[in-house]
C-alpha cells in the first residue's frame, strides 16, 4: 500500500494538523479544515446522545404496555431524539464537517471567505447545543420536534423556551455557514474553475446553502414568536384571540420541509463524488445532476403543505401542495438514474465508501418512493402520523443521508487525517449497518399501514411482533455504528499513512497532500479540464 514513500527520508512535512499544537491552537483556529474537525467532534457527540435515546425508545416499544418509562418520559425521549438528530446532528453533519473541509479545497481556495465567521459559527452552534443540553438535564421537552401550538405554547410543562432558544441560536450557525459557502463559491474559485467545472459536491453545497440562507430565518422568527407566546401568555398563534394554530404549522414547515433537502442534498453531493471515483469514469449527466440540485432547493420550498393534508388546511391548498410535491420527485429521480447509468461500463471497485453509496441509492429510492405515496392525498389520509411516516423519513435520513455521510467520511478520511483505516472492518461495518437498518425500519412501514400511530408510548398488543423486530434491528444498527467509531479512533494512532491520492480519484482535493497544508495548496491551482476526467489512465496516479 501507499506508505510514506513520498516523504521517505525527508523531515516530517508540515500540514494543517501539525503546524501547531495545544488546545488553544484548535479553539482559536480559523483554518476551515480544523473547524471541520471541531464540528466532527460536536456532531458525533450529539449523534451518540440522540442514538442512546433511540435505543431507549426501541427498548420501551419492545413491549406494548409502556412499562419501562412513564408516558411523559417517553414523550421527552422521542422529542429530544428528533431535535438532537435533526438540528444538532444531521443538518450540520455533511455541510459543516465535510463541507467545511472540502469546499475551499475543491475550488482551489486557501480558506473560506470569512474564516473568523466560520469559527464563530462553530461556537454559536455549541452554545445552541448547550442550551438544549441544559434543558435536557432539567427534564427536556415533550412537544415533539415539530413544536405544534397550542400544545407547545400553552399546555406543555417542559422547557420549551430553552430548547427553542437553543435551536434558534444553532440556526444562526447554519445561516452563517451557508452565507460563507455561497460567498466563497461565488468569489473564490481558482482560475479556470468555471461553474460547470465545479465538482457536483460543490453544486450540492451551494444548493444547500441557499436553503440555509432563505429558510432558516423563517424558522428563527417562528420559534421566537412561539417563545414570546409562551412567555407572555398571548401571541399570534393563540386561538383565544383568533390566532390560527395552522399558521404555526405553515411557518414551521416552510423551513422544515426544505430542511429535509438540507439533509439529503449534501449526501447526494457525496454520492456524486464517490460514484465516479470508484467507477473510474466521468459521471453521466453532469449538468442534469447539477441542475437537479438547484431544482430541489427551489422546488423544496413549494411543497411544505404536504405535512398538513389532514390538519384542517383547505383541501384546495392541499391539492396544490400535493401536485408540487410530485414535481419535486422528478429531480430526485433524475439523480438516481444518472448515478445508476454512471455504473454502466465503469471499472467498479467495491471499496467501503462505494458500499455506503450503493446502499444510499437503494434506501433513498425506497424512502423517496414512499415519500411519493405520502404526497398522494388519498394515501396520506390513512398513513399520516403513523409509523409509515416514521419509516419513510428514517429510510431517507438514516438509510440515505447517514449512509452518505459515512460514505463521505470513509472516502475523505485519508485526506482529513492522513491515515488509512482497516478495510475489512470497514466493509463489515457497512454491511452490518445496512442489514440492521432494514430490520429496524422495514417493519415500521407495515406497522404504519396497520394504523399504529407515531409518538405512542404504549400500543395494542397485536403490533408487538413487528415492534420487537424493529427493536432487534436497532441493536444491530447500533453495533454497526459503533464499529466505525472504534476503527476511526484506532486509525488516527495506528493507521498507515495515506498517500495524496489513495483511491486514484480525480479532483483538486486529491492533488494536494494528505493531510493538506494550512493553505491547502503550495501554489494556487489552475483548472483546465472538466471534472471527473478519468479517461486517460495516465492521469490517475497508480498509487493503489
Amino acid at each position: 500500500m501507499t506508505t510514506a514513500t513520498e516523504q521517505a527520508g525527508e523531515t516530517p512535512r508540515t500540514h494543517y494538523l501539525n503546524v501547531n499544537y495545544g488546545i488553544r491552537s484548535w479553539l482559536l483556529t480559523t483554518d476551515h479544515k480544523r473547524i471541520g474537525i471541531l464540528y466532527l467532534i460536536s456532531v458525533t457527540l450529539f449523534f451518540a446522545l440522540g442514538g442512546v435515546m433511540a435505543v431507549l425508545i426501541r427498548l420501551e416499544l419492545a413491549t406494548p404496555q409502556g412499562d419501562l418509562f412513564q408516558a411523559d418520559q417517553y414523550n421527552r425521549l422521542f422529542t429530544m431524539h428528533g431535535i438532537l438528530m435533526i438540528f444538532f446532528f444531521l443538518i450540520p453533519s455533511i455541510p459543516a464537517v465535510l463541507g467545511n473541509f472540502l469546499v475551499p479545497i475543491m475550488i482551489g481556495a486557501r480558506d473560506l471567505a470569512f474564516p473568523r465567521l466560520n469559527l464563530l459559527s462553530w461556537y454559536i452552534f455549541n452554545i445552541g447545543g448547550l442550551f438544549t443540553f441544559w434543558a435536557l438535564l432539567h427534564g427536556g421537552v415533550d412537544t415533539g420536534w415539530t413544536f405544534y401550538t397550542p400544545y407547545s405554547s400553552t399546555y406543555s410543562g417542559t422547557h420549551v423556551i430553552a430548547v427553542a432558544l437553543g435551536i434558534f441560536i444553532a440556526g444562526f450557525s447554519s445561516i452563517l455557514t451557508g452565507l460563507n459557502f455561497v460567498v466563497t463559491i461565488h468569489r473564490m474559485r481558482a482560475p479556470g474553475l468555471t461553474w460547470f467545472r465545479l465538482p457536483l459536491f460543490i453544486w450540492s453545497m451551494y444548493a444547500t446553502s441557499l436553503i440555509f440562507i432563505l429558510g432558516t430565518p423563517v424558522l428563527a422568527v417562528t420559534l421566537l414568536l412561539l417563545g414570546a407566546e409562551r412567555l407572555f401568555h398571548i401571541g399570534i398563534f393563540d386561538p383565544a384571540i383568533g390566532g390560527d394554530p395552522l399558521l404555526f404549522q405553515h411557518l414551521f414547515w416552510f423551513y422544515s420541509h426544505p430542511a429535509v433537502y438540507i439533509m439529503v442534498l449534501p449526501a447526494m453531493g457525496v454520492v456524486s463524488e464517490i460514484i465516479p471515483a470508484f467507477a473510474r469514469k466521468k459521471i453521466f449527466g453532469y449538468r442534469f445532476i447539477a441542475y437537479a440540485s438547484v431544482a430541489l432547493a427551489v422546488l423544496g420550498f413549494l411543497v411544505w403543505g404536504h405535512h398538513m393534508f389532514v390538519a384542517g388546511q383547505s383541501i384546495y391548498a392541499a391539492t396544490v401542495f400535493s401536485v408540487l410535491s410530485m414535481l419535486v420527485a422528478v429531480p430526485s429521480a433524475v439523480k438516481v438514474f444518472n448515478w445508476t447509468a454512471t455504473l454502466y461500463k465503469g471499472s467498479i471497485s467495491w471499496e467501503t465508501p462505494m458500499l455506503y453509496v450503493l446502499g444510499f441509492i437503494g434506501l433513498f429510492t425506497m424512502g423517496g418512493l414512499t415519500g411519493v405515496m405520502l404526497a398522494t392525498l388519498g394515501i396520506d389520509l390513512h398513513v399520516h402520523d403513523t409509523y409509515f411516516i416514521v419509516a419513510h423519513f428514517h429510510y431517507i435520513m438514516v438509510g440515505g443521508a447517514i449512509m452518505g455521510y459515512l460514505g463521505g467520511l470513509h472516502y475523505w478520511w485519508p485526506k482529513i487525517t492522513g491515515k488509512l483505516y482497516p478495510k475489512v472492518w470497514s466493509r463489515i461495518a457497512a454491511v452490518v449497518v445496512f442489514i440492521g437498518f432494514n430490520v429496524t425500519f422495514f417493519p415500521q412501514f407495515i406497522l404504519g399501514y396497520l394504523g399504529m400511530p407515531r409518538r405512542y408510548h404504549s400500543y395494542p398488543p397485536e403490533f408487538q411482533v413487528l415492534n420487537v423486530m424493529s427493536s432487534a434491528g436497532a441493536t444491530i444498527l447500533g453495533v454497526g455504528y459503533v464499529i466505525p467509531l472504534i476503527y476511526f479512533f484506532w486509525s488516527m494512532r495506528y493507521g498507515k499513512d495515506a498517500a495524496s491520492n489513495p483511491w486514484g480519484a480525480v479532483g483538486l482535493e486529491w492533488e494536494t497532500t494528505s493531510p493538506p497544508p494550512t493553505d491547502n495548496f503550495e501554489t494556487t491551482p489552475v483548472v483546465t479540464s472538466e471534472p471527473y476526467h478519468y479517461t486517460r489512465p495516465a492521469e490517475a496516479p497508480g498509487v493503489l
Binding site: P115, L225, I236
Partner: protein, 216 residues
Amino acid sequence: MSSDAISLPAHQFDSLEQQREVASLGMWVFLATEIMFFGGLFAAYTIYRVSYPLAFIAASRQLDVTLGTLNTAVLILSSLTMALAVRGAQQGKRAPMLAFLPLTMILGAVFLGVKAFEYHHKWVEHLVPGAGFLLPGADARHAQMFFCLYFAMTGLHALHMIIGLGILTVMLAMAWRGRFTSTYHNPMEVSGLYWHFVDIVWIFLFPLLYLVGRHG
C-alpha cells in the same frame, strides 16, 4: 496598528478588490436572510389582515400617524447622513465620517425615543395585548392580534436599530483612529448597507401598521 497592515488583503484573498467584493456580497446575502426573517412576520400579518380586516382597521386607528410619519422622516434622514458618511469613507476623508456618523446615530436614537414614547402611550391606553387589553368598540379579541403583530414587528425592528447603533459606534471608533482609506473601507460600506436595510423595513412597516383604513 499601522495603516499599511490593513491595506494588504487577508490571507485567503488574492487582492483587496476581491476582499471588497466578498465583504459586500456577504452583507447582501446576510440581508437576504434578514428579509426572510422579517418575512415570517409579514406573512403572518398578511394572513391575519385578510382574515380580520375590520379589527385591523379599528386597531390601526389607535396608532399615531403624526408620530409615525415623523419617525419615517427621521429614519430617511438618517439614511441620507449614513450615505454621506460612507461617501466620506470612500474618499478616505475623515471629517465627513466624524460629522455624519454621530449625526446618524443621533437620528437613530431620536427614532427609538419616539418609538419608546409610543410604546408607553400604548401601555397607558391599555393597548398592550394581554389581560389588561381594552379597546372600546368592536372585536377587541382580534384587535389584540393586530397589537401582537405591531409589537412583534416594531420590536424586532427596534432591536435591529439598537444593533445598528452598536455597529455605528464601532465604526465611529475606527474612523476616529483613521482606519479607513480610499482603498480600504469595507466595514463602513457594509454597515451602511445594514443601516439602509433597517430603514427599508420601516418603509414597509409604516403603511402596513399606521395607514390601514385611515379613510372613511
